[in-house]
């Protein structure tokens, strides 16, 4: 059998318990995690079947309804890599976000910012052979939430990736540069300072489409394969 093995979580990862994010207090385990070896279960995954599970790419979130949504049109582009800087090809990125006013198309979102009938805020892109992806959307707004007095979430886009294996699953959030809400956000701050910048996209004039959409770069790095005592160096 193959001896694929993925590197462990690095120090960028947030803890499960982060009391400033109040919902973690009753929803995080008290017992330490039990370390187990990566068996065939963990090193396999639905990498080759996402299209049968979820369907084809939906890469333009501004063209899903009768008219265009309100908001600043933006393009997000980047690559999905592993920690060895190898591209992760043909992997799915699921995308969701609120609208330009900071409102989600969701029954539980009770903030009274307007709903945009022309914006759902859900999409899906597939990486190419170089691990590259690109999608078009509108810039999401900031919104208040009940975590603590006067808490506001910075503008963010949720991204969900399967990667090649059960072990490489990732759900993250993309933030925007120069957003003063990031440094006072309980969710972004669960990530240690030195790694928080990994979640902040860069404005990029070359990614910007003239007369159409501002462009941002955002690379996503999944756990990489590591050598194990069972395998000889290759690649």
């Amino acid at each position: 059998m193959a001896h694929i093995h993925f590197t462990p979580e690095d120090s960028a990862q947030p803890p499960s318990l982060f009391p400033p994010y109040a919902s973690t207090v009753a929803r995080s385990p008290k017992h330490p995690l039990i370390r187990i070896p990566q068996t065939l279960t963990e090193i396999t995954g639905p990498a080759g079947t996402w299209d049968q599970l979820m369907g084809p790419a939906v890469a333009d979130l501004t063209r899903q309804h009768a008219a265009e949504p309100i908001g600043q049109r933006i393009a997000i582009s980047g690559r999905v890599l592993d920690e060895n800087r190898r591209p992760v090809a043909n992997t799915v990125i699921e995308i969701w976000q609120c609208n330009a006013a900071g409102r989600y198309i969701h029954a539980k979102d009770q903030w009274d910012a307007p709903i945009d009938p022309n914006f759902t805020g859900a999409g899906r892109v597939i990486t190419d052979a170089d691990g590259a992806y690109r999608f078009t959307t509108i810039r999401p707004g900031a919104y208040p939430w009940g975590n603590h007095h006067n808490a506001w979430r910075p503008s963010h886009i949720h991204l969900s990736l399967l990667g090649p294996a059960f072990a490489t699953r990732l759900v993250t959030q993309l933030y925007f540069p120069d957003d003063p809400l990031i440094e006072i956000d309980a969710i972004a701050n669960a990530v240690p300072l030195e790694a928080r910048a990994r979640m902040v996209a860069r404005f990029d004039i070359a990614t910007t489409q003239p007369n159409y959409a501002l462009g941002y770069l955002f690379d996503i790095v999944l756990r990489g394969q590591a050598a194990t005592p069972f395998e000889t160096d290759h690649e």
């Binding site: 385990p29 370390r35 065939l40 639905p46 090649p164 699953r169 993250t172 990029d204």
Partner: protein, 232 residues
């Protein structure tokens, strides 16, 4: 990465962001939050047999915004059809109504529908992908319909007992929690190499029990019966 200034002027100080070389490394996990239902769980995502719309929460957003997923018809799936149900519960035993469960499992012969499973001598099951997603309901319950998986190899020359890998996501979960479901009464449980790593008093949290025609597997995020979660 392109950092060109179209005005041809020098760049300001380097930016500490996603593209800065010194920040390269694993992208950090963040919570799915409470508002993922119109994007992640899809109709039929929790029915690995392809016979129902199980898994989604279409009650949480308007039908006009149900854009991403379509149930695909598939042939009958070989194996012992089973239903798995459970509640996701917090420290106080309160149901977690905005969680999402993912499962990953082998088919009835113990083969994963994955290019990383090298055992091509074992047959794949047409239409069975082994991956499922279920949002929890308004009462914090998830449901999957699937087949009972076969045994797969473990470390060294061991063989694992039939099991299903589980990922737990939700509001208040900054990163996925990982656990496993085993089947009560399976004789292979006694020498499973992973169960063997779990202190005996806590092993029961990983064992599903038969009840009213389904397998019951509650997930306690915290509390007296806290489920065992793994670091993989």
């Amino acid at each position: 990465m392109s950092n060109a200034n179209p005005l041809g002027r020098e760049q300001p100080a380097p930016r500490h962001d996603n593209q800065a070389p010194e920040t390269f490394g694993q992208t950090p996990w963040q919570t799915v939050g409470p508002f993922f239902h119109y994007a992640l769980p899809w109709k039929g995502g929790a029915d690995l047999l392809g016979a129902s719309d199980l898994g989604a929460r279409p009650d949480l957003f308007p039908p006009a915004h149900d854009l991403l997923h379509a149930t695909t018809p598939r042939p009958p799936i070989a194996g012992e059809a089973i239903e798995i149900r459970g509640h996701v519960l917090d420290a106080a035993g309160a149901p977690v109504i905005d969680a999402m469960i993912e499962i990953w499992q082998a088919n009835a012969t113990g083969r994963y529908a994955s290019p990383a499973d090298p055992r091509t001598d074992l047959p794949l099951t047409e239409g069975f992908r082994g991956f499922g997603r279920s949002a929890t309901s308004a009462t914090g319950e998830y449901v999957f319909k699937t087949i009972r998986p076969g045994r797969v190899p473990g470390p060294g020359n061991t063989l694992q007992a039939p099991h299903i890998a589980i990922g737990v996501f939700g509001r208040g979960l900054l990163k996925r929690l990982i656990t496993r479901l085993y089947f009560a009464g399976d004789p292979a449980n006694t020498d499973d190499p992973i169960l063997d790593l779990v202190p005996p008093p806590r092993r029961h949290t990983l064992i599903a029990h038969q009840a009213n025609g389904h397998w019951q597997f509650d997930i306690h995020l915290q509390g007296k019966s806290e489920t065992v979660f793994f670091d993989i």
